[in-house]
Amino acid sequence: MLKNRIIPCLDVKNGRVVKGINFVDLKDAGDPVEQAKIYSDGGADEICFLDITASNENRDTIYEVVEKTSKKCFVPLTVGGGVRSVDDINKLLNCGADKVSINTAAVQNAKVVEDSSRKFGSQCIVVAIDAKRKDDGWEIFTHGGRNPTGINALEFASKMEKCGAGELLVTSMDKDGTQSGYDIELMQKISSMVNIPVIASGGVGTLDHLVDGIKSGASAVLAASIFHYGTYSVNEAKQYLASKDIPVRI
């Protein structure tokens, strides 16, 4: 039976982890490779790096991070943030990323999704959707949630599936950072509408939130803070899900 995935996400800036796990025995708390290794040894089903490097001159730092991590972690590695073109995707894959997540570029030019999924296979193309409630629906935002687009999130999700996305990483901007749980209605709507896996993101504060995320129809749940601050380990999260009869890999 296919298991639901738990995906810890690490924010990486200029090649360093920000908001990393605060373990005393860490040699270097800012080292993404070491942090990723802790997660994979702890049972993470996948690792996600979100590159939040702002300046262009430091953009290449992520390639080195990915290259080093992929030599130490033997679980799938997804990398997103600042991915603009098929060429960027190619570079990340060559460095050892298994999947690349595309946000702004997918909205601006759906052809990037079409071309890259044809070239590298849908399995490595994740479209990241940042959605915020508006009227009785959701609007998508680009540039790390800064720019509104006027595009309906459900319509966009459906379009991305047709363009060849292998998965959708859906983040609720209303919930992100609140620790009050996923936007369940958003996850339900998108998961039931598309036939590709959905990764729920944004708002996890407790282990019950992970349970709710899976029950909403998402195939995987992504979380950052609860793991970063050591509130729970990945293993504790999996044990909890298993105790609620949710199939996970233990």
Binding site: L2, K3, D45, K71, F74, F120, G121, E167, P197, S219
Partner: protein
């Protein structure tokens, strides 16, 4: 010993290279090449494959003499070869992804889209699923039945002769996820991304 990972510019093989190098350490030489002479002289060959069945076959065909060299290595000199994901699928006679495409024909069978039962099952089949080992295979030495492996695919290999099936996984139906026919081995899942159990399978192959 020389193990060659065939580099035919189709898909992303960094993870395969990293995992084999991790397991091989300094004991075994891992080559990544499409050089026909190097393939011929190596002891074992790994055939990775990502993207579509057609794009992988096209990739093999784009290198003059590569398919003949691989077929000779596998069918005549009978040295061990491991196909991963689409690398396994290409063993078939024919694949139906994008358009009907002729496969290598090393193991009789076809590659078709997984039946998603009218949307009941999401495709691609992505994530960790358990394998049901149905026959003893050398690459499953010290691998427990029901171990978790990492999958990502929408198409499945359906062999004509079930005796080649080494393991299946349950997703919509019992999907063939590992084959062994004499010196030919294949996994639909990605051992290079399946953590310690996956690395053990790679170790088993290297130590055949």
């Amino acid at each position: 010993m020389d193990v060659t990972i065939v580099d035919y510019k189709s898909g992303n093989i960094s993870s395969v290279i990293n995992s084999f190098k991790e397991v091989a350490k300094d004991k075994v030489n891992i080559e990544v090449t499409s050089d026909l002479n190097k393939i011929k002289s190596s002891d074992k060959v790994v055939l990775p494959g990502q993207g579509s069945f057609k794009s992988c076959i096209d990739g093999l065909n784009s290198i003059n003499g590569l398919i003949d060299t691989l077929s000779e290595f596998t069918l005549y000199t009978k040295k061990p070869l491991l196909g991963i994901c689409v690398g396994l699928q290409m063993f078939a006679d024919v694949g139906y992804e994008e358009v009907e495409t002729k496969g290598l024909g090393w193991i009789s069978g076809k590659v078709s889209k997984i039946d998603n039962q009218n949307g009941k099952y999401k495709l691609p089949h992505i994530g960790w699923n358990q394998i049901n080992i149905v026959k003893e295979s050398k690459i499953f030495k010290d691998i427990e039945n029901n171990s978790h492996m990492y999958f990502v695919h929408s198409y499945e290999f359906i062999p004509n002769d079930n005796s080649v099936t080494a393991a299946t996984t349950d997703y919509s139906s019992n999907i063939v996820c590992a084959v062994e026919k004499e010196n030919i081995f294949g996994t639909q899942f990605h051992p290079e991304k399946s953590d310690k159990t996956g690395l053990k399978i790679i170790d088993n192959f290297i130590n055949l």
